[in-house]
Amino acid sequence: MRTSAISARVMTGGEAAAEAMRQIDPDVVPVYPITPQTPIIQGFAKFVADGRARAEIVNVESEHSAMSAAIGSALAGARTITATSSQGLALMAEVVYIAAAMRAPVVMALGNRALSGPINIHCDHSDSMLVRDSGAIQLFAENAQEAYDLMVMAPRIAEHPDVLLPVLVCQDGFTITHSAEPVVLLADGAARRFVGDYRIPHPLLEVSTPTTQGPFAMPDYYYELRHQQVAAMAAALSVFDEVAEAFEHISGRRYHSIEPYELEDADRALVCLGSTGGTVKDVVDELRAQGERVGLLEVRAFRPLPVDRIRAALRFVPWVAVLDRADSPGGRPPLYAELLATLHRTDAHVQSYVYGLGGRELHPDDIAGVFARMSQERLEPEYVGLREAECPV
């Protein structure tokens, strides 16, 4: 996605997310600091202090309270955005599930960072993966521009009456949050109009029509109430497209739930999330220039995972390698497992490569190496670039 040099400004993904928040102009922002999310909330706090945004910031005392306050605020009837990373998301995990179940359309800027232990501040996707069953939507940005664009799109997806789910806009910690790149912003008015007004079915603050929200459910109803969320997620896929189309009208930039890159005739394809996609694209170009038929499937919507589209996009690719920036010790890496569930009953050979945990670098050479190795049958995951990896377990 070529950014126009003319109107672009050099800013980090974190700054870009803060700009998006300023333009969205949410009512309430409950938030707790954590690296590498802090640039987002600091940037936004400055906008508020300078009178450039009107939100009430709630400087809560923990992330559990951040999400709790966000649920309260969103269900009360106020547009609500929060932001976090890593341990913060882990601490609020309990209430992320509840936010989804109560259908609170909270938007969250997530600066992806490895989970402790050991404590580490750099990027991986284990925090996102921790809440992959929560019912929250997760969109992954490849770069600062996407982090901005997806933030602007997020409220409309979250608040759509068929959806009403939290949306996590995920950007790789440091690699995007702290990397300065050219970003084209919408005009403030255009962004604001695009987002529109906040509407939910039953604002708690409508005291004239009292509602009971968050009741106790026995087995006779719990099952059906949970299934609502599955349906809402399915709806979210088309809503994403709808919103993406509208966004294209005002920005010229079009997003899809997956981004196939040079897949048409590929005999080998990587699948990944986040900023790594950009690096892979460079490698694909390079290898293609040498005549190799390689490609990439970048997953932008990890939740809802566009199962059918992924299937279709990879239909004719015999060798697929899933790059996971997270793992599940004693089990299978999460994206890999999902991909296999998606590609079941196709002929693809799907392999698993774990990389980049805790911010470990993945260089073009590593990627080229995976492309080189992947057309041999292998079922066990490999840790790319592990020191003394000869005995993968």
Binding site: D27, V28, P30, R54, A55, E56, V58, N59, V60, E61, S62, H64, S65, A66, S68, A69, A70, I71, G72, S73, A74, L75, A76, G77, A78, T80, E94, V95, I98, M102, L204, L205, E206, V207, S208, P210, T211, T212, Q213, G214, P215, F216, A217, M218, Y221, L225
Partner: protein, 306 residues
């Protein structure tokens, strides 16, 4: 009009917590809830923590609540209320609220949801200064899960996690939650008891009009967890107050005031002995409790005098 008639009129046949809920026969909590909500002269929005009250009043698809009511989890009622109250301020600030009458935000949590797992969210909300009334209905244990000890469980009480057994019940003194709230220097803090309902009702009014967070710690019984017949509740709770086990006082803008001076000589055993949870107490242990009560009472008197 008498205060009680006022409460009746406010309820106007639509109790905030209507009958048909699944709380135990004779549970002490509903009276606290109705006295409090009925004492407030604005619309009320209730945020509830997980606990007996919440679980037993909202079995989907029914509800006992006639007022707007929100529950998210056990430990976060104060945080949820912070969000609701902030939303209200934000929307009002933008002129985006339909009606513009004031709303009172009321948080209802048990002692577990206040003294223990809910303390941090509450403390944070106090520091930020949200305008809500946080009510702890203190029945001195985790009742919903079958009577486990909490920070509010008094010294000596037997619970399933502080069993009398060969021991003495709970070995630690209760957390002084009211004092902790006072230490946050919020505008209004009070300790109350359900059967002193006029006192409670007055405190609710003050709390609702405070310019910032207010905290009410309201003692109420749980026949199941305390081990007594429901009909003993009024006399037991009366004894709790008269024996100075549970003094009634308030701290408004830092000023202590005893709101009720016990009227009769009442030994704490009058409170303790009818309850199964204290049945194992030896005279020595009761004497220890008595001494602690005296010491606490003297300190409190000192503060109120000052």
């Amino acid at each position: 009009m008498s205060r009680l008639k006022t409460l009746v009129r406010r309820e106007a046949g639509t109790p905030p917590l209507r009958g048909g809920h699944a709380l135990c026969q004779g549970c002490g909590v509903p009276m606290v809830v109705r006295t409090i909500v009925d004492s407030i002269d604005t619309p009320v929005v209730v945020v509830s923590a997980t606990g007996c009250l919440e679980v037993a009043s909202t079995r989907f698809p029914t509800t006992a609540w006639n007022v707007p009511w929100l529950h998210v989890a056990f430990e976060n009622a104060a945080a949820v209320a912070s969000g609701v109250e902030t939303a209200y301020r934000a929307l009002r600030g933008r002129g985006a609220l339909a009606g513009d009458e004031p709303i009172t935000f009321l948080v209802l949590a048990g002692d577990g949801g206040t003294y223990d797992i809910g303390l941090q969210a509450l403390s944070g909300a106090f520091e930020r200064g949200h305008r809500f009334v946080f009510v702890c209905y203190d029945n001195e244990a985790y009742m919903n899960t079958g009577v486990q000890r909490s920070g509010a469980t008094p010294f000596g009480a037997g619970t399933t996690t502080s069993p009398a057994g060969h021991g003495l019940g709970k070995a630690e003194q209760r957390k002084d939650m009211t004092a902790i709230a006072v230490a946050h220097h919020i505008p209004y803090v009070a300790q109350a008891c359900s059967v002193h309902w006029q006192d409670l009702s007055t405190k609710v009014e003050r709390a609702a009009h405070a310019d910032g967070p207010a905290f009410l710690n309201v003692l109420t019984d749980c026949p199941v967890g305390w081990g007594h017949e429901p009909r003993l509740a009024p006399s037991l709770l009366d004894a709790a107050v008269e024996s100075r086990f549970w003094p009634l006082y308030e701290v408004a803008d830092g000023e202590y005031r005893l709101t009720y001076e016990p009227r009769r000589a009442c030994d704490v055993s009058e409170f303790l002995l009818p309850q199964k949870r204290f049945a194992h107490l030896t005279p020595e242990l009761i004497e220890q409790i008595r001494l602690q009560i005296d010491a606490d009472w003297n300190e409190l008197r000192g503060r109120c005098a000052a």
